[in-house]
C-alpha cells in the first residue's frame, strides 16, 4: 500500500487498452475518423469562402489567409488532443456520478482526478491532429516562400510552440474538469456541456476581433483574464504565424501563469466537489 503508484505505467496501460478497444471495432474507428475529418474540411470550406471576400480578418491585424490557417491548424491540434484524452472521460465522469460508479474510482489506490481524467483515450480524434499537421505545414510553406515579406521562423519560437499548444490543452482540460465536477452538486447537467462548447467557441477566432466597442473589450477581458480561453489558441498561433512584437511578450508570459492558475483552480474545485459526493448506488 505504501508504494507510490507509477503514473506513467498506468497511463500507458490505459492508452493500450483504449487502442485495443478501438481496434476491436475497426469499422467504427474508421467512420469516426472520416467523420471528424469531413467536419474539418467543411469548416475549411467556410473559411475559404470568407477569404474569397476579404484579404484579412480585421483591418491591420495581420491575420491573412495563411496566417489564419496557421491559427486554424493550432485550433485543430488543441481540440483534437482535448477530444482524444479528456472529452470521453469527462462525459464518463458525469455518468459515474449519476449512477454511483464513482465509488469504485474513489476506492482505487491512485489519485482520483488522474484516474477520472485519463481512463479512456479516443484514438480516432487524433485524425484531426494529423490533418492539422498537414494544414500547418502547407500554410507555413506558403508564408515562408511568399514573394513579399516572407515569414522568418525563429528556432526558439518553433521550440516554444509545442509547449504553448500543451498549455492550451491544459487550460481547456481545467475548464472541462471544473464543469464536469459541478455535476456532483447539480446531479445532471446537460446544459453545462453545451456551455463548454459555447465558451470554447470564443477560442476559435483571433482575439483581435473582439477589439471593437465596450462589449468586445469586456468579452476580451473576461475571456482572457477570468476564463482564459482566448489565450489557448491565440498565443501559440501568433507565435508561429507572425513576428512577435514587444506587446506580445506580456500575453505570452501570462499564458503560462494562466495555465498554472487554471490547473490549480480546477484541482481545488474537483476536490471540493468530491467532498460533497454522496454515493448514488442502491
Amino acid at each position: 500500500m505504501s508504494e507510490r503508484p507509477r503514473y506513467a505505467k498506468v497511463f500507458l496501460t490505459f492508452a493500450r487498452n483504449s487502442l485495443v478497444r478501438d481496434m476491436t471495432f475497426r469499422a467504427n474507428f474508421l467512420i469516426e475518423s472520416v467523420a471528424s475529418l469531413a467536419w474539418m474540411m467543411a469548416n475549411l470550406g467556410f473559411y475559404l469562402l470568407i477569404f474569397g471576400y476579404t484579404d484579412s480578418i480585421g483591418a491591420n491585424t495581420g491575420w491573412g489567409q495563411y496566417e489564419f490557417f496557421v491559427f486554424l491548424s493550432t485550433t485543430m491540434f488543441i481540440n483534437s488532443l482535448v477530444q482524444a484524452f479528456f472529452m470521453p472521460n469527462a462525459e464518463e465522469f458525469s455518468e459515474m456520478i449519476r449512477t454511483g460508479g464513482l465509488d469504485f474510482a474513489l476506492l482505487k489506490p491512485i489519485d482520483t482526478q488522474f484516474l477520472i481524467s485519463l481512463q479512456r483515450i479516443n484514438w480516432a480524434s487524433l485524425t484531426n491532429f494529423l490533418a492539422g499537421a498537414v494544414l500547418l505545414a502547407f500554410s507555413l510553406w506558403q508564408l515562408t516562400t511568399r514573394a513579399e515579406n516572407p515569414l522568418q521562423l525563429k528556432p526558439i519560437l518553433v521550440l516554444l510552440y509545442p509547449l504553448y499548444v500543451g498549455c492550451g490543452v491544459l487550460i481547456l482540460y481545467s475548464l472541462m474538469i471544473t464543469l464536469a465536477a459541478t455535476s456532483i452538486w447539480l446531479g445532471r447537467n446537460q446544459t453545462l456541456y453545451d456551455f463548454w462548447f459555447y465558451i470554447t467557441n470564443f477560442s476559435r477566432y483571433p482575439m483581435e476581433i473582439y477589439s471593437g466597442g465596450p462589449l468586445g473589450l469586456s468579452l476580451q477581458f473576461f475571456f482572457t483574464f477570468i476564463v482564459p480561453v482566448l489565450v489557448v489558441v491565440n498565443v501559440p498561433a501568433r507565435m508561429l504565424a507572425m513576428p512577435l512584437h514587444r506587446a506580445d511578450y506580456a500575453l505570452t508570459a501570462f499564458a503560462l501563469l494562466a495555465t498554472v492558475l487554471a490547473l490549480l483552480a480546477s484541482r481545488w474545485v474537483f476536490r471540493r466537489a468530491l467532498l460533497s459526493y454522496r454515493s448514488a448506488s442502491s
Binding site: I31, F46, I50, D55, A59, F202, E208, G212
Partner: protein, 287 residues
C-alpha cells in the same frame, strides 16, 4: 370526429406539461444559444472592417457590402436564422425514432389506435410551444438590444410590408413541417438499417453548412448556388431569414414558397409511405 379531437388535445396537453417541467434549464439554454452568434457577429465585424479599410478610409462599415449585405443586414440575418432554426430544428427526432424501432418501442403504436407520425408531431408542437413561451423572454431581450441593425432594411422587408411578413410567417410554419417530416423520414430508415447515426451525421454536416445558419447562402459561388436550390435544406434556415430581410420578393418569393410547400408535401407522403412499408417488414419479438 369529436372523440379524435379530444384525444389529440389530451396528447398535446400532456406533452406540454411534460415540457414545462424543465423551464429553468430551458431559459438558460436559450440564452446560451446566442453565444456562438456573438462570436460570428464579431468575426464578420472584423471582416467588414478589413474590407472597408481596403476600399479606402472615408467609407464607413455600412457603405461596403459583401454579396449584397451590408454589416447591419449581416447581423440581422444571423438573428433571423435563430428564429428559423427555432422553428425547423428537431433535436433528437430522427435518432429517437430509430431507437424506438430498434428497441421495439414502436410496437405500442402498432397496437394502440394512435398514429405514430401524428403523435410525435403533436409532441413536437407541444415542445415548440413550450419552448417559445419560455424563449420569448431571451429572444425579446436580444432583439431589443440589436434593434439598430434592423433600421436600414429595404421596403420589401417584413419591417415595412405586411405581405412580406405574412410570407415570412408562412415560410416559418412550413419550415417547421419540413424539418419534422424530413427528420422523421431519416429516422424511419431505421426500419431497414436499425442504426441511422452515421446517416444522421451526414445530414447534420450538410444542413450545418447548406441550410444557411453559418453564413447567408447567396454568398456561395456558382456550382454551389444551383446545388442549394435543388436541396430542401435552405428552407430550414436561410429562406425565412432572406424573406424577412426583403432579399426575395415578387415572383421569386411566390415561387420559393411554392417550392417549399412542394417539399413539405413530398416529405409528408414520403414519410407516410416509409412508415407503411417499414411496418410491413417489421417483426417484433418478446415483451
Amino acid at each position: 370526429m369529436q372523440a379524435r379531437v379530444i384525444t389529440w388535445w389530451t396528447i398535446l396537453r400532456i406533452c406540454l406539461e411534460e415540457r414545462l417541467v424543465y423551464r429553468g434549464d430551458f431559459a438558460l439554454g436559450t440564452l446560451m444559444r446566442f453565444l456562438p452568434i456573438v462570436t460570428q457577429i464579431f468575426l464578420w465585424y472584423a471582416i467588414f472592417q478589413a474590407v472597408s479599410a481596403a476600399a479606402g478610409h472615408e467609407r464607413s462599415l455600412y457603405d461596403v457590402q459583401l454579396a449584397g449585405y451590408h454589416y447591419g443586414e449581416f447581423v440581422a440575418y444571423y438573428l433571423m436564422t435563430m428564429i428559423s432554426r427555432a422553428f425547423s430544428s428537431m433535436p433528437g427526432l430522427a435518432s429517437g425514432i430509430a431507437r424506438q424501432i430498434r428497441e421495439g418501442e414502436v410496437k405500442k403504436f402498432l397496437v394502440q389506435p394512435v398514429d405514430m407520425l401524428g403523435f410525435l408531431l403533436l409532441g413536437r408542437v407541444a415542445h415548440k410551444l413550450a419552448y417559445y413561451s419560455v424563449a420569448i423572454g431571451p429572444f425579446a431581450l436580444i432583439f431589443f438590444l440589436c434593434r439598430g441593425y434592423f433600421y436600414g432594411l429595404p421596403l420589401e422587408a417584413a419591417t415595412h410590408s405586411a405581405t412580406t411578413f405574412a410570407a415570412f410567417v408562412a415560410s416559418l410554419l412550413m419550415g417547421f413541417l419540413l424539418g419534422y417530416f424530413l427528420e422523421a423520414s431519416i429516422g424511419l430508415i431505421g426500419f431497414w438499417w436499425l442504426e441511422v447515426s452515421s446517416l444522421l451525421f451526414v445530414y447534420m454536416l450538410l444542413s450545418f453548412f447548406l441550410s444557411g445558419h453559418m453564413f447567408p447562402l447567396d454568398m456561395l459561388p456558382e456550382p454551389w448556388l444551383t446545388l442549394i436550390d435543388l436541396l430542401p435544406l435552405k428552407y430550414l434556415a436561410y429562406f425565412p431569414a432572406a424573406v424577412f430581410l426583403g432579399k426575395v420578393s415578387g415572383w421569386e418569393l411566390a415561387l420559393g414558397l411554392g417550392v417549399e410547400l412542394a417539399w413539405v408535401l413530398f416529405f409528408v407522403f414520403f414519410s407516410r409511405l416509409m412508415y407503411r412499408q417499414g411496418v410491413n417488414r417489421y417483426s417484433g419479438f418478446g415483451g
